[in-house]
């Protein structure tokens, strides 16, 4: 019996298959991306987000405003030439302030959700993989922490340690890893009985190798969907914290504090201090929710049309 060497390539290229071209099977991520791009609302979400990122970070290079010195001779200026959205209580240009505040809101939203997802993913993956008593202990801790009223505890801590971007991201992140932990644990529970995990074990893979090389990458879809929603939640939570006065401190600003400073001016008729910021906040949160919805549908293989 001769062993056919598969490596010896045929001299002539194979003829085109009958019945048309064979479609190339794309990788999982490519399929996900294609599915995502078909979702018009999700693409709109991406567009809104890209717009606001450019607006907040590139905008200040084109639209120069003085955000360092107050101008008490021009406070609460009506929108008009030279100040498209007017000026606020300190005489800062509102459009420029919007860009500055947007940077803070986006950064904290992003950082907080990444912190939450990293903690949650590792916690959930370890609990799901180890199982047994340790798993139930870890998940009971999650249950108890889930019953801690999120906004209240964050308020208590932010009141003392808040006020800058890193601290607020940390505070918001450290108290919102519970949902991703539960999600990832659920995912890992279904993954750990799969053949590739057993194979890795048989080949002598260590526990940490299993967690970081096999389980977490496979649970990544779920995690990424969750990150998107968490950014939206973190931005809203930060806005609420700042609104009641325990978020970012003056002179730095974020969208929540801008609304907070301006809420008393509504009765004076200074609508431009509240609603442009409000619209920006709602649009960004909406964009993340739309992207999250789109990603969830795209990652879920069962919903996919081929």
């Amino acid at each position: 019996m001769t062993v056919i060497d598969e490596r010896s390539a045929p001299a002539t290229p194979p003829a085109a298959p009958e019945g048309g071209d064979v479609t190339v099977i794309a990788s999982g991520w490519k399929l996900t991306l294609r599915e995502f791009m078909r979702n018009k609302l999700a693409v709109v979400g991406v567009a809104i987000l890209v717009f606001f990122v450019l607006f907040c970070y590139i905008g200040p290079y084109f639209y120069h405003t003085n955000q360092l010195q107050t101008n008490l001779l021009n406070t609460d200026g009506v929108p008009g030439t030279g100040q498209p959205l007017g000026t606020d209580d300190y005489g800062f240009d509102v459009l420029g302030r919007l860009m500055l505040g947007g940077q803070t809101s986006l950064e904290i939203g992003f950082l907080a959700s990444v912190i939450a997802s990293v903690i949650g993913t590792i916690w959930g993956a370890v609990a799901g993989l180890v199982g047994g008593a340790i798993d139930s202990l870890m998940m009971r801790i999650v249950d108890i922490l889930l019953a801690v009223p999120f906004f209240l505890i964050v308020l208590i801590i932010a009141h003392r340690y808040g006020s800058n971007i890193w601290n607020l991201s940390l505070i918001l992140g450290v108290f919102s890893w519970l949902a991703p932990a539960r999600l990832v644990r659920g995912e890992v529970l279904t993954l750990r009985v799969r053949d590739f995990v057993s194979a890795s074990r048989v080949m002598g893979g260590t526990q940490s190798h299993l967690v970081f090389r096999h389980l977490i990458p496979n649970a990544m879809g779920t995690v990424i969907v969750n990150v998107t929603f968490q950014v939206a939640d973190a931005i809203l939570a930060l806005a609420a914290l700042s609104y009641v006065g325990f978020g970012i401190h003056y002179p730095n600003t974020d969208w929540g504090s801008q609304i907070s400073n301006a809420s008393n001016s509504l009765s004076n008729g200074y609508w431009w201090l509240v609603f442009p910021v409000g619209i920006a906040l709602v649009l960004v949160v909406m964009a993340f929710n739309l992207i999250g919805d789109g990603l969830r549908d795209a990652v879920d293989v069962r919903l996919r049309k081929r």
Partner: protein
Amino acid sequence: MTGFLVRRFGTSLIVVLGVVLVTFTMLHIIAPSPAIAVLGAKASPAAIKAWNKEYGFTDPFLVQFWHYIDNLFHGNLGYSFKLNQSVTALFAEKAPLSAFLSGSSLVLAIVIAIPLGIYQALFRNRIGDITATVISFVLYSMPVFLVALLLIQVFALNLNWVDPNVSQDQSLTGALSDFKDLLLPIIALTLTAVANFSRYQRSSSLDALAQDYIKVARAKGLSERLVLSRHLVRNACLPTITLIGLFLPGLIAGNLLIEYTFNINGLGLLFINSLNGDDYNVLLAYTLIGAVFTVVGNLIADLLLTVADPRIRIV
């Protein structure tokens, strides 16, 4: 059923005690004693020391925690050093107004969201459904205080229908005598909740509508009204019931923001004011209420589910 309730009560108690431990520990790390807040920033170290000793703040952490728990089981939520009043009395005074706000908006939200979701599912992709979906998606992405500010701008400032200032009466009866003023806060809370619930109600109604038992009911010649009331509503409400249970603790955060916006003298405003004074026992007690809401929300949701769905009836 009794066994189930006893077990659930036991775990709920453990969870609530766990929350108390977490909050208590955190407050002690942040500010070991409210002495400075009580005596003032210029208090001498000796006076602070004496005060701490008098009120037991020099005891070991676990002893202090044990005293707190012990008091808790005797219905004593501690003493507010800042307001010179027992927390129980303070809460008894402020709670009715907050409870009225939360309760009425929750009931309104359920009454609106469930029919709305079913309507949207029945007339899927028609103009009514699309409008409601867009509006609820926008509201879902909107912080509750922004909804409130928008309502103030439109109904109080532009249209002049209501007064933007809510009655400052502390008692519920006093505030209710100016009921019109409470409309905006209640509407703001209701809208946010409706945005949360109706999305779920719509999708669960869509799922239910596609089930065979609906087809069977229609094939039997049942009137549409009977199909909806006897077969659809019960099944389509199940996910929403769970959601409402989970939403219950969210009422506390929403209430806090709304009370702050409208300057309503409820528990939420008390919490914010207590933050500045390191008024421990008030902060702890309000967090405790939040935790109780969480476990009670879960429990009620589970019980309601067994009522609505005989398949998961607990023996």
